[in-house]
Structure formats: structure tokens, C-alpha cells
């Protein structure tokens, strides 16, 4: 008989024959075998119906336990605060006597109490903390947008989140000065209709007695090069002055406090931007009052290069501060480098190295230029309150991907 199928079809047909033959072969025995096995298994399954349900119960219990563990792990946690790497409790009052005290919070926020400041950590929350400033200056770098920080100073309350602010409180005069370097902050209290909001670059003074508010405009814009360098440096005059160990620094801090007090008694408004060009007589007094732009203009009018040649080390540090806050980083660098040349090996020279690191960190090279200065500072100054800060900045630089 002739087969019209293609070879492939014939092959498939042959496979089918074998498949079916194999399936038929021993089918009865196979089905008896399968039936017995199935009925045994079915009986076994019927006898243990609860096992299946119990499995769900056990599974549910495990799931519940896992959920509870997860919830416990992810629960909102109250912040903690350390001073000198020791965990500190709330409700305690800290006196920054002659040196600044850094309060390091667990979310990365650092609040520095300037010398002679009295601070109380009123309450630690999951989303921030409430501080009471009993007197002096607080310098705060608030890291996280998810946290809200309150500083109570007398009847005033400053609230900020993700901002760099400096709060100065004089309890005797009930005067609050607030400077916002980055971000925004709000103030409520006597003499303020509802809420006063301050933006980056603004500075305001509030007086409870006079019910008056003196609001400084944003610092005048510097040339483009200067702006690029000085974009984010907080005004830490109080911290800086207190942060410099030694007699000179303490004297500067005291004189600064005196100068600041006299300024607020007379409540002059800080000069408008055009005042930068106006002549000024005493750049140091202006700088201590926080009128950095005017102070810098006065220093320039006096002759910046002459000042660098003639001032002592402490005054050169002040001149550098004024230049930096007036957003003239190149002048600040000039003053600091002159200091290191003229007063090598002194504590002031070491402090200048730290400040040069801070300036370098804001420049184009960033950490690459900053870290050598911080290391120089550490080499020249083995101890002191700024040592930990220098180490922290080096660690932060080294943890940046670009620096690896």
C-alpha cells in the first residue's frame, strides 16, 4: 500500500502509534495502582483537615509577628542628643562657659552654643527638638526637612526646618536677634503681629520692651565670583569668636557681646545695600554689630592690604570673618594667608588653617582643597573644641563619592 503522507507526517504518526500503545499497555494495572494510592492519600487528607487550617493559623501568627517586628523597627524614634560624644538627657541646662558646646542630634543636626550661652534641651521629639535659649547665642545647622526645631527665647519662639540660623538672646533686655543664612525661619512673640518669616540672608532684631522690629534686608549682592564661593557659609561670628581657644578669643567674644548690646539699645536698622559704598569709620565695630557689608567696605576704604600688613593675628581673623560674611571669600583668604605667613606656629595660624579649609570647601575643588587645610589644622592643633569638627568635616569629605 502506497503511503501518501510526507516523511515528517509518517514519523509523527509512528510516534503517535508508539505513544498510544505505550499508554494502553498495562493501563488496567496502572489504574488499580493509582486508585489505591489516591484513595489512601484522600483518606489521609480527610483525616487531617485541621492541619491545613492550622497551617494558615501558624502562617498568620508568623506574619503578625513579622509585622509587629517591622513596625517596632520602623517606629518613629525620639531623637537623641550628644554633647562631647556623650548622650545627654532632656531638661538639663548646659552652660557654654568659655568654649562653644556642640549639641549633636541623632538626625545629623548640630547646634552650637557659643561661649557663655545657656541652653536647655526642653524636649526631644521624633521630628525635632524644642530648645530653650536662656541667654547668649545659638548657631544651628538644621539638616533634615522632616524635622522641625523650636528655640524658645523668653516670650519669643523661633521655628525652623532645614535651615542655618543664628539666634542671639539677651534676657536682661528681652531682645532677640535672628539671622537666617540658609532656608527660612519664623518668629512669634511680643511685637510681632502674627508670624514673622525670615528668608535666607535676612537678619532681624526683636525687642520686647520697645515692641519694635528691626529687619535687615538681604546682604548686598557680591560679584559673581564671590557669590559662587560664599553661597552657604553660615554666619558663625559668635561661635567663631568663642571657638578660638585662648585668651584672645575670649576677649573678642566679650567685646563682641558689648558691641552687640550697644547696637541693640539704639536699634539702628542695618544699612541698606547702597550703604556698602558709604564710608565707615570702624570696620571692627561694624563687624561686631553684624553689619558685615558695611564693615567690609570700611576695611577696604581703610586699605585692605595695609590692614593685612599691620593687624595682629586676632584682628586678622576678624577681618577674614567680616570678608567672608560680606561674601568676599578672596579677601578672606588673603587675610588668612597673610596671618599664617606673619604668625606661623601660633594658635591663630592653626585657626586660620581651619578657616581656609572652610573657604576651600565652598570653592570649585571643594573637598580636594579643603581636606589638606583641615589636616594642617589638626597637625598644628592637637586639641581643642574645633578638633572634633575638623575630623567630622574630613570624614564627611572622605565619604563623598567623588573623593573616593
Amino acid at each position: 500500500m502506497h503511503d501518501d503522507r510526507s516523511p515528517l507526517d509518517a514519523l509523527i504518526a509512528r510516534m503517535s502509534e508508539l505513544h498510544r500503545a505505550s499508554g494502553t499497555r498495562g493501563r488496567e494495572a496502572r489504574q488499580v495502582r493509582m486508585r489505591t494510592a489516591f484513595l489512601t492519600a484522600a483518606k489521609h487528607a480527610a483525616a487531617q483537615p485541621r492541619r491545613s487550617r492550622m497551617r494558615w493559623v501558624y502562617g498568620g501568627a508568623v506574619l503578625l509577628a513579622a509585622s509587629l517586628l517591622l513596625a517596632w523597627t520602623l517606629r518613629p524614634r525620639t531623637l537623641t542628643v550628644e554633647i562631647d560624644e556623650e548622650t545627654t538627657l532632656a531638661q538639663l541646662v548646659f552652660d557654654a562657659e568659655e568654649h562653644p558646646v556642640t549639641l549633636a542630634f541623632s538626625d545629623g543636626t548640630r547646634v552650637v552654643a557659643a561661649p557663655r550661652a545657656r541652653v536647655k534641651v526642653q524636649r526631644l521629639r521624633e521630628d525635632g527638638a524644642d530648645l530653650v535659649l536662656l541667654g547668649g547665642t545659638l548657631d544651628a545647622e538644621l539638616e533634615s526637612e522632616a524635622t522641625v526645631w523650636q528655640v524658645q527665647a523668653g516670650a519669643y519662639r523661633v521655628e525652623a526646618s532645614s535651615a542655618t540660623v543664628t539666634v542671639h538672646w539677651k534676657p536682661a533686655e528681652e531682645t532677640l536677634a535672628l539671622e537666617v543664612e540658609a532656608g527660612t525661619a519664623t518668629v512669634t512673640g511680643p511685637g510681632i503681629a502674627s508670624v514673622r518669616r525670615l528668608e535666607a540672608g535676612e537678619r532681624a532684631t526683636f525687642s520686647s520692651e520697645r515692641r519694635a522690629v528691626a529687619l535687615a534686608p538681604t546682604l548686598p549682592e557680591a560679584p559673581a565670583v564671590a557669590l559662587e564661593d560664599a553661597s552657604a557659609e553660615p554666619p558663625k561670628a559668635a561661635l567663631h569668636r568663642g571657638g578660638r581657644d585662648g585668651r584672645d578669643g575670649r576677649r573678642r567674644a566679650r567685646s563682641s557681646a558689648r558691641a552687640s548690646a550697644s547696637h541693640e539699645e539704639t536699634t539702628p536698622l542695618p544699612a541698606p545695600p547702597e550703604a556698602v559704598q558709604a564710608p565707615a569709620t570702624d570696620w571692627r565695630a561694624l563687624g561686631r554689630d553684624g553689619a558685615y557689608a558695611r564693615a567690609f567696605a570700611a576695611a577696604e576704604a581703610e586699605g585692605f592690604a595695609d590692614l593685612c600688613r599691620s593687624l595682629d593675628a586676632d584682628a586678622l581673623l576678624e577681618l577674614a570673618d567680616v570678608s567672608r560674611y560680606a561674601r568676599r571669600p578672596h579677601r578672606a583668604r588673603e587675610a588668612l594667608e597673610t596671618l599664617r605667613r606673619r604668625f606661623p606656629g601660633t594658635p591663630s595660624a592653626a585657626t586660620a588653617a581651619f578657616d581656609l579649609g572652610r573657604l576651600a570647601a565652598l570653592g570649585n575643588a571643594g573637598c580636594a582643597d579643603a581636606v589638606p587645610w583641615y589636616r594642617t589644622f589638626l597637625d598644628e592643633r592637637g586639641q581643642g573644641s574645633m578638633v572634633a569638627e575638623a575630623r567630622r568635616r574630613i570624614a564627611a569629605c572622605e565619604s563623598e563619592p567623588s573623593s573616593r
Partner: protein, 203 residues
Amino acid sequence: MRSYLQPVPDPPPEPEPSLLERLRAGDPDAAATLFDRYVHRIERAVFGIVGHDPDAEDLVQDALLAALRGIHQFHGDEARLGAWIKGIAVRLALKKLRWRRTRKWSGWLGSDAVPTLQAVGGTEERAALTRAFAVLGDLPPLERAAFSLRFLEGMSLEEVAETLGVSLATAKRRIRAARDRFARLAATDALLRHWLETRTDHA
């Protein structure tokens, strides 16, 4: 006055509970009925898909047991019960094919089991058929299932579609694709190609 007692009709007999009701009620005898009623079609589907795998019997049993355990999740009527169980069996069989294919690729498993070829006369034909079943094992699981059900098990197109739970058009397309792939793979096998060419010359 005479009174007559009216004959009281016998109450109608209680209707026999259906298999589905008995299964849901946990009737111990219902499992045997389930097996006897559905084993043939389940066996055909499973053997049709996986071939003569040593685990084919277990697959049949697993499908029936799964149906027994999950009977409370079946909400259709009894007419649909067979199709439901067959669906379970097909899923298990396809899973088995995928597992086998993965194991084969990873080198953990050799060639697929082939039917007994003792009845095949010539050595050459026996070798060709062994290779042909090996080629069948290389098809993707869905195509292999369609191919086997249609060509080896001899199901109609409608039966293949119903067994695999796909539309008729999909079943046709899958069968065609499987046959084409089988032909291509067969052509790449030297022994099979030679055997097919020889047969062509004879034809």
C-alpha cells in the same frame, strides 16, 4: 356513616445527593467516585502532555487530590467539575514540563523518557524514533503540549483547545507553530534528517 381511610401516598424519595454535594459534605466514598468518573480524561490529558514520564501517575493523583482538597473553592455546577479538574491537571503537567526543561538545560536531567520501542522492528527506525521523541522534548512546554495532544494523543482541535483552556484559534496557531518547530529541529538532527530523506526517496 362509613368513613374511609384515605391512602397516604409515600413521600417522594430523597434525591440522591450529587457527587459535588457529597464531596463538599466530606463523604468518604465520594473520593472513589471522583476517581472512577474522571481518571480517564485526566490521565489522557496528563499523559498527552508529559508523555511517558515516570511522574505522570503522580501528576494524575496530585490533580485529583488537589480537586478533593479544594472542592470548596469550586463554585461551578457538576457539569463543569471535570473541566475544572482537568484544568488543574494541565497546569500541573505544564509545570512539570517547565521544571524538566529547566533541569535539562542546567544539565541535571538527561533526555526525556520515550515510549517502549521494543515493538519497533528496525534498528534504524528505533534510533530515529528515539531522536524524534528527544526533539519533542526540546519544544517549548506550551507548544509541546499542543503538539502531543493533537498528534500523539489524537485529540480534535476543539479538544486540544478545551484541554489547554485556550481559544480554538490559539490552539490552532500553537499546534502549527509546534509542528513547524518540530520539523526545523528534526532537520537539524543528522540522524533524523537522514532518516527523513531516505523515506522521501522511498516515497
